[in-house]
């Protein structure tokens, strides 16, 4: 019998997923992120933080974007998990109260996060680096 232990593993490349811009996809992507993070040795508490970051990225892109789909990538490097999201936008008001709430949560959970508006696309990067703030 082989004893398998979780290890802190980086991935050789990003996990890239395109989903419809549908609120129901939030849970799907949280589950996907949980699986990737678990595979790479993140703890249960760390995975809970990653799930929050994924959810907030999707809130920003789905509720405030105008695209039919959202592109999400998970990038795992030694000691960090990055959530990247991209969708088409027409108007993207960073000071909208709902988006401010979202950014407040991202700022608390993530080590770094950025929201860029480029060529009618909103691009969000949310980086969680060990030690995670609350995990």
């Amino acid at each position: 019998m082989t004893d398998v232990h979780a290890t802190d593993t980086a991935l050789s490349g990003p996990v890239e997923i395109r989903v419809p811009a549908d609120p129901a996809m939030s849970r799907v992507l949280r589950l996907a992120a949980s699986g990737v993070a678990s595979l790479c040795g993140f703890s249960v508490d760390e995975i809970e933080e990653i799930k929050i970051a994924v959810s907030e990225v999707l809130i920003a892109l789905i509720e405030h974007g105008a695209g039919h789909h959202v592109d999400v990538s998970f990038v795992v490097e030694q000691g960090s998990f990055t959530v990247l999201g991209d969708t088409e936008v027409h108007e993207f008001d960073l000071d909208h109260p709902d988006l401010r709430l979202c950014r407040t949560v991202l700022a608390e959970v993530c080590t770094d996060h950025t929201i860029e508006l480029i060529d009618e696309h909103a691009r969000i990067s949310a980086v969680l680096r060990r030690p995670f703030k609350a995990a």
Binding site: A24, D98, T104, V105
Partner: protein, 108 residues
């Protein structure tokens, strides 16, 4: 207890004491379902929401609770959050919104 409504990750019951009991995830998909349950039940009495079985909440779900609190305050009443777990507590703390609610018990 009567099951009121649900989606794949959220179920809402009405307890015998009238509390709206939420099970599962209050997220972008679940928030509107919760709001649809809460609105017709909003009257002159406080709105009691039991969160003992909530496993996940994000800022979108929190907005549903905050909107209910704003409507309650406008009617001269309040929203009571019962059995608040660490997930909800943390989000209330991060966003500085705990004072919008009366908290009736916390769970570990």
């Amino acid at each position: 207890m009567t099951e009121f409504t649900s989606n794949e990750s959220l179920t809402i019951d009405i307890a015998d004491d009238g509390a709206v009991v939420v099970h599962g995830d209050i997220d972008m998909a679940g928030g509107p379902i919760l709001e649809a349950v809460l609105r017709p039940r909003e009257g002159t009495d406080a709105v009691l929401i039991d969160l003992a079985d909530v496993s996940f909440i994000d800022s979108s779900g929190l907005r549903s609770l905050l909107d209910a609190a704003r409507r309650a305050h406008a009617r001269g009443t309040e929203v009571v959050l019962r059995s608040v777990g660490p997930e909800v507590s943390r989000l209330l703390e991060i966003t500085g919104t705990s004072e919008q609610f009366r908290i009736d018990g916390r769970r570990d």
